[in-house]
Structure formats: C-alpha cells, structure tokens
Point group: C2
Amino acid sequence: MSNQEYFPKGFRAAGVACGLKRDGQLDLALIASDRPCAAAALFTTNRVKAAPVLYDQEILARTDATVRAVIANTGSANACTGEDGLARTRHTAQTVAQALGCAPDEVLVLSTGVIGLPLPLEPIERGIAELQTELSRDGWPFAAQAIMTTDTRAKLGGLIYPEGYIFTGIAKGAGMIAPNMATMLCVIATDAEIERDLLQRALQRAADASFNRIVVDGDMSTNDTVIALANGASGVRVTDEDALVTALQAICTSLAQEIVRDGEGATKFVTVHVTGAPDEDSARQVARAIATSALVKTAFYGADPNWGRILCAAGYSGVEVQPERMALWLLDAAGEDAIQLVERGEPSDYDEQAAIALMQEPEWGVRLDLGLGKESTWVWTCDLSHEYVSINGHYRT
Amino acid sequence: MSNQEYFPKGFRAAGVACGLKRDGQLDLALIASDRPCAAAALFTTNRVKAAPVLYDQEILARTDATVRAVIANTGSANACTGEDGLARTRHTAQTVAQALGCAPDEVLVLSTGVIGLPLPLEPIERGIAELQTELSRDGWPFAAQAIMTTDTRAKLGGLIYPEGYIFTGIAKGAGMIAPNMATMLCVIATDAEIERDLLQRALQRAADASFNRIVVDGDMSTNDTVIALANGASGVRVTDEDALVTALQAICTSLAQEIVRDGEGATKFVTVHVTGAPDEDSARQVARAIATSALVKTAFYGADPNWGRILCAAGYSGVEVQPERMALWLLDAAGEDAIQLVERGEPSDYDEQAAIALMQEPEWGVRLDLGLGKESTWVWTCDLSHEYVSINGHYRT
C-alpha cells in the first residue's frame, strides 16, 4: 500500500514556509478537494471572534454552502483587526479560489498567532502560489506541521475503513485550551459521502466528548475552529449517525489528547474523572474547577499528592458538594483506581512515596467521587510548569 | 508616645515558635482582650470548610456571642479532618480559655497550612503556655509574623483616631487568593465600642471593597476568615456606619493590597479597572476573567503588552461584550490613563517600547472600557511567575 492510500481520496494537502514564522519553518497550510465537500464546523464561543471565524461562519450560514478548500496561516490570529481584518481574510480566500479555480465562498480560512497583528498578505500570496504546486494526496503531515504555533510536534490522526473510506485529521493546540474548545484548530477530511446536517450533528457530539473536555490553561481563544469536510470521493455513503460519531470521536479524541500532552510546558497528562455526581453538569463543573486550578496543576507538576487542593477546588466549583461524602483516588495510566487518598472527606492511610512515584509518571489520573449520585464525566488536563510561564511571559518578544 | 499607644487598649497580642514551622520561625499567634468583645466575621464560601471555620461559625451563630481571644496556628489548615479535626479545634480553644480564664466559647480559632494534616496539639499546647507569658499590648507585629505561611513579609495595618480609639489589623495571604476572599486570614481589633450588628454590616461592606477584589491565582480556600473585634476599652462609642466602613475599609484595603503585592511569586501589582459596563456585576465578571487568566498574568510577568489576551479574556467572561466598542489603556502607578493600546477594538498606534517600560514597573494597571454603559469596578491582581510554580509545585516537599 502506497503512502497515498493512508489519506482520503480527492483531497490534497500541503504546507509551505512563506515567511510568517522565522527560520524557514512551515507556516501556511492548504487543504483542497477536487470536488465540493459537505462541510460542518464548530467555532469559538468567545464574544471576541477573529476575522476568519466571522468569515467562515458567514459562509457556512448558507444552507447550500459547499467547500473546496481550507487555508490556514500562522503568525497572525487576525483578531481585533476590524473591517480591514475581514477584508484581508476575504482577499486570502479569493487568492486561493483563483489558484484552485473555485469560487471564493468555497474557501474557508483559519488563522492562528498573535491577536491584533494585521494579516501579512504579501507572504501569504506568495505562499499560496507555492502551495498550489506542492499539493498532494499525502501532503497532510506538512499541513499539520504548518499550523503549529507553540506546539512542539505536529498532530495528525486517521482511520481507514475496510468499506473503502478514510478519515484524516490535523490539529494544533498548545496554550489557551479550555472546555468549549479554546485555541485550537482542527480540520478533518473524509472521502465518505455524508449529508451535511448529519456531519454537523456528529461533529458536535464528537467534539463534546473530546475537544470540549480538554484544559490546558482555562483561557478560551478568539480563533478556535473545528472543520469537517466530506467529499464523497470514495463513493461510499455513511448514513448511520452513531457510527459516524464513533469515527469522528476516535480522531477527535486522539487529536485532543495530543493537544493536552503537548500543552504549553506540559510534563504530565492527567485525566480528571469525577464520579458520583447528582447530574452530568455538576460533574463537569467540578472536573473543570479541578482541571483549571493553578494550585492543583502546580501540585501535579511537582508530583505532590496534595489532595487537599483537589477537594478545595471541588468545594468552590459552585456545586453543592458535601466534603464528608468525598473519596479520591490516584488512577494509573490505564485509568484504574490505584491509590486511595481520601475516604469520606478525610485522608486515607496511603503510601505517600508510592503516590509520589505514580505522579512522577507522564500519564495518570485522579478520580473524585462526590457520593451524591450516579453521574460522571472526565476531562483531560496537563500540569502547570515553569516552562508554561516562560513560553507565555515572552511569547511575542 | 510609647509604642504601646499605636495599638488598641485592652488587647494584647503575641506570636511564638512552637515547632509548627521549621527553623524556629514564629508559628502560633494569640490575640486576647481583657474584656468581652463584640465580634464580626466573614468566612470562606468554599463548600469544603476547615474545622476552625465550622467551629467559629457555630460560636458566632449565637446572638449573645462575645469573644475574648483569637488563636491562630500555621502548619496545618485542619481541613478535611472530620470529627477529629473539630475535636482538636475545640481542644485548642479550651486550652486558650484555661490559660486566659475565659469560657471556651469566647475563643475563636484560625488555622492555615496544608489541608488534611491533623492539627498537632502537643506543640500548640506548649505554644499557648508560652503565648500567655508573651502577651503584650504592642505584640501585634509578632502575631502578624506568626500567621505567615508563604508570605514573605508580615502584614500589619492601623489607624489612630484623635477621638481616642485605635484600629489594628493583621493579615496573611500569599496563594489561593480570589474574589470572595480566598486563602487569607485577617484579624482587626479596635478599642472603640461598636454594636455587633453594626460591626458585621460594616465589615461586610469593607471586605467587598477590599478583600473581595483581590486575585492571586483564582483558587478559593477552605479556611479564609476575616474577624473584627471591638472591646470598647477606649470608652468611645462609634455608631456611624459609614464612618466605620471608612475606617475598616482603609485597613482592609491596605492589608488586601499587601497580600497581592506579596502574592506567591508576584513581581508586579496590577490594578484591573473595567469601565463602561452596563452594570456592576458585568464589570466584576470581566475584571475577574482578566485578573484570573493565566495568559494575561504571564504576559504581565513578561512585561509584554499583549493586549489581545485581555480582550480575549473579556470575550469569554460570559458578559456580552462587543469587541468593536472596547478601548484599553495602560495605567500608570497613580491609576491614570498612560498609554492607549486599543481603540474601538483595534490596536492604537502606540509606542511599544514605552508600553514595555511601563509594564516593567512594579505597580501599574490596565483599564478596559467596554463602551456599553456607565458602571465600573476594579480588582487588584499580580503576575504569574516562575516563582509561583516553584512555590506551589513543591509546597509540601
């Protein structure tokens, strides 16, 4: 099987270096389909939305919208740039449309980088010309690389179905990641034929169980976007929503987890599992409070089983927890209860050294049982390290 | 004027080293009044409340409660310690009552330190015996020192009124500080005569304008307590609520600001001022989102005028902000608009080097005008530094 066969038919991808990043790193990505795609998308809920978000939303608001290409630049988020920013997004789409011979409103635009900088059109125009010649069916790894910002590695995932269709996804994450899908970009493409409304419903469900469960620093960005494209080039039609959710969720989960593993300065990947909640919303609220707490995340960093901070975060989550009903475990890498730290709100008689040793591992978890019901949820988070502060204290300088 | 005359009549204070901290540092504080005090208090809203919080709340729930002493220990927060923790708090109060010859229910208890550790009674008993001999009218600085945890300096404030009464306050802060008065302890004593309900109302108002406006890391602790005691020993009666609020607020503000200045790892004291809000709640929500954002706080640390992160935080605050109406300024140390960074949601033409220079100062601010109304508020926060991570990654080890 050639490398090509790992990627969906009828799509071509590429990443080039057009000068948006220093040192000649790849910084502009293009994904193109040789036929119109059904497109679904999820966008940031931040009230401050970047120009490309507003632009893409406008395009996809039309019921007859189809998509032929997605262009993604780094270097500038094109957010807080007003009318001029929107004009530059439109110009970018037009340039791509010209290069590919499609309509401008068949081109979606993604931007990531510093807020408030004007989108530099000149290098992007040059880059698009180069992308046009670089596009290939197996160019996805280059596209994945070209959308990285503070990511330390490219994020690429895929599924190949024996029925003859393929899903490929790329994502970028790093900082500003929080539930409701903060600073991250993701593009998933499949050559299955999928009706647009079905694709949208399934993407929403898949994101709820993946991208909306990840926390790096609790900030939510102006640019977050997840796009799914289905071009039907395989000739296989997918109509079962649950099966489609399963496929999308598999890709989204692996990309979402990669984003957390590669969180800014992250040294540990921690699953925060909340059980025994009266309802799922409460579980989510508690899990989020724990996963966002700077004190909890620094204790994770220091491999310090300072469980009091976890109970404390649950206590201020807004949920009416009852301390004397809470139980807490450290989970091993497989997600199994390993060491009980708290029983009925008080410390268990656990082996401190064993707890520290477990927390020094790169992947583990905690499970907080609230003792208030049967609902549960989990989120994935990382620790808060010196490196996070270094990266974000001097991002622009 | 002797040193004594700086402190309220009829109160004595002391701090001793009883072995709760290493290296012989002061770790146990006692404040005693030679007559019953009217007492007011505010407690953490965390659902997980430490034993001393539950104990003090029970005492102060009685309408005829009067207070003769406050004992405060470091080393253990006595939180998540169940019935045994409550028994140890009661035992501490009894020991103090015996030493001072008052009733156990006239003694309030404060604890701060690690959650989940049993309160070590033996050193505390020894310490109380020593405190008894150390108590003196001018012992407040030692009490202030003895309640420090990760604080780097003692926090002591006072007001001397020509009418003949004095207010003295001590506080501890450092990490886990957030609106609604997270991990901090504060005791204010006055020899004015103040009716209890009036004292409670005034303390609440003063705290709303001071302790409830400070953010270090957004965490809210299990132990936060502010206590005000009035013993009437000056013979001067205070009945004007506004005047009393002014006095308490002056002390609370100076202690609250000291807590932020001395926040864990803090290198900068930043006022986040939000104006042009449709209502005060919205202003508070936006200010809090900005002051709590890890991305904003690391940019403060790096003196990086990365204003996009501020607008971004406003965007996800939950308030329906309109990006194109927002304006943002850097404020100088006096709180005056110094450099406009954003106008109508887009970058102003400002001098980047001047902005960086201003942000390198230890005290400055930002003002975000939402352009949506006339209400405003402010909070005080600090930056998020490498040192914060060092302190909290290895607090116990």
